[in-house]
C-alpha cells in the first residue's frame, strides 16, 4: 500500500508515529461524539437578540419581571440577568425534578452561567438571550457562578440557587 507520508518523510518509525497521532485524534473525537450522543448533550442553540445596554427597559428583563414563573404545563421559566458582578435576582428557588428553562441575558459584557454539580451551563453573550433547559434531581443549596472572565470583580460574581424537595411545593 502506498503511504502518502512517504513524500514528506523518509523515516519508517517517524511515519508510524504520524499515523498513530492521526488515529488517536480521530478516536478521541469519535469518543467525544459518542459521549455527547449517549448523554443527550446539546449545545445551547437558542438565538434571540436583545439590546443589552437597554436591558432593564425591556419588558421581559425588567427588574420586576425577573425570577421564577410557572408555565401552564407545570414547568418553570426562570428569567435572570447577568451583570457585573452578580446574577439577578440573587436568590432563585425551584423544586426538584421539575423542568426548568433558564432565560438569561447580560446587561454589560460576556458572562458565563454555570451551576456546579449540575448540567446547567452556558455562555451569556451580550446582545443575545441564552436559554438552558434542565431539571435538578437533588435538592440542596447550589451557586450560580460566572465562568467567563468579565472584569475585576469576576471572582465575586455568584448568586444562590436553592433546589427544594418536590413535596415542599411549586414555584416560589
Amino acid at each position: 500500500m502506498h503511504d502518502p507520508f512517504k513524500a514528506i518523510c523518509d523515516d519508517d518509525l517517524e511515519r508510524r508515529w504520524i499515523w498513530i497521532s492521526i488515529i488517536m485524534a480521530f478516536v478521541m473525537g469519535g469518543l467525544l461524539g459518542l459521549y455527547a450522543v449517549a448523554s443527550n448533550m446539546h449545545p445551547p442553540s437558542n438565538v434571540e437578540t436583545i439590546d443589552s445596554s437597554r436591558l432593564h427597559l425591556t419588558e421581559e428583563f425588567a427588574e420586576d419581571n425577573l425570577g421564577v414563573k410557572e408555565n401552564d404545563d407545570g414547568s418553570l421559566t426562570v428569567t435572570m440577568v447577568a451583570a457585573r458582578y452578580g446574577f439577578y435576582p440573587s436568590v432563585i428557588e425551584v423544586p426538584a425534578d421539575t423542568p426548568v428553562k433558564f432565560r438569561v441575558a447580560s446587561a454589560d459584557v460576556l458572562h458565563g452561567f454555570h451551576v456546579p454539580f449540575t448540567n446547567a451551563a452556558t455562555m451569556v453573550v451580550p446582545g443575545y438571550i441564552s436559554e438552558v433547559n434542565t431539571s435538578f434531581p437533588t435538592p440542596g443549596k447550589y451557586s450560580f457562578l460566572c465562568n467567563e472572565y468579565c472584569g475585576l470583580g469576576h471572582d465575586s460574581m455568584w448568586s444562590r440557587l436553592i433546589v427544594l424537595p418536590k413535596s415542599a411545593g411549586g414555584a416560589s
Partner: protein
C-alpha cells in the same frame, strides 16, 4: 362569593406585573454615551452658578454639610444618571426634583461634565484598613452573597464605569444615609437592585465601618477655632 375571591386574587397576582417599572430610565446606550461625550463643562459651570448648586454642594463640588454629597470629581455618567433619576422621580428628593425638573438632557450632561472635571475631596490620610473592612472592601463574603466593594467602586474607591460612583472622599453621613436608604428601599434607583441586595446583607456596624474607611476628613469648625485661639 367565590368569583369575587378569584377576581381579587387575580388582581393581587397581577399587581407586580402592572407595576413593573424600571428602577431607572437611564440606559448607557450609544445615544447616552454620545450625549455625555459632547457635553460642554463650561456651559455646565454657568448653569451650576445659575442654579445655585453651590448652596448645598459647595463652591467646588465639595459640601460643607455632611448630609450632602460631594459631587466634585465623580464620573459624568454617574452624575448624569442621578440628575435624570431625580427628574424622573426614580430617586426621591424634593429639593433636587425642583432643581432639575425643567432641565433638558443636554443641560444635565453639561452639569455632570462640569462637576466631573473638578478635583474630588481628598480621602482621609489617616484612614485605617481594619481586617474586617479589608475583607468587605477586597473580598466580600460569599456566604452572604456580598460582593467586594472594590470590584465595582475601584480598589481605591475611585469609582468604576457608568453608574458606579466614587466612594473615597465622600461625606461620612452621606455614605451611611445612602446605605441605609438602599437597605430600607427608600432609594431604589440602582438598576437590578444591586446596592439594595448588598446593603441588606450588611450589618449596622459594617455600614459605619465602611463609611469610616471611605469618608473624607473635613476639619471640624470648632477644631479650627480652637487652633486659632
Amino acid at each position: 362569593m367565590k368569583p369575587y375571591i378569584s377576581v381579587i386574587t387575580a388582581l393581587l397576582l397581577f399587581t407586580p406585573v402592572v407595576n413593573a417599572e424600571p428602577s431607572s430610565a437611564v440606559a448607557f446606550d450609544l445615544a447616552t454615551i454620545k450625549l455625555l461625550k459632547s457635553a460642554d463643562p463650561q456651559a455646565g459651570k454657568a448653569l451650576a452658578e445659575e442654579s445655585k448648586c453651590a448652596k448645598c454642594h459647595g463652591d467646588a463640588g465639595v459640601s460643607d454639610d455632611p448630609d450632602d454629597i460631594n459631587i466634585a470629581g465623580m464620573s459624568a455618567s454617574y452624575l448624569f444618571k442621578q440628575l435624570r433619576d431625580y427628574k424622573d422621580k426614580k430617586r426621591d428628593d424634593r429639593d433636587m426634583y425642583k432643581n432639575v425638573r425643567e432641565l433638558e438632557d443636554e443641560q444635565m450632561a453639561d452639569l455632570a461634565a462640569w462637576f466631573a472635571s473638578l478635583s474630588p475631596a481628598p480621602a482621609n490620610p489617616d484612614r485605617v484598613l481594619t481586617d474586617a473592612v479589608r475583607k468587605l472592601v477586597f473580598y466580600g463574603d460569599p456566604e452572604r452573597l456580598l460582593k467586594a466593594c472594590a470590584s465595582c467602586h475601584g480598589r481605591r474607591g475611585q469609582g468604576g464605569q457608568f453608574d458606579h460612583p466614587a466612594l473615597a472622599g465622600q461625606n461620612r453621613t452621606y455614605l451611611v444615609d445612602s446605605l441605609v436608604a438602599f437597605q430600607e428601599e427608600d432609594r431604589e434607583n440602582d438598576i437590578y437592585g444591586r446596592m439594595r441586595d448588598i446593603s441588606k446583607s450588611l450589618t449596622e456596624d459594617e455600614i459605619e465601618a465602611l463609611a469610616d474607611y471611605y469618608a473624607t476628613y473635613l476639619p471640624d469648625e470648632d477644631e479650627d477655632e480652637e487652633e486659632e485661639e
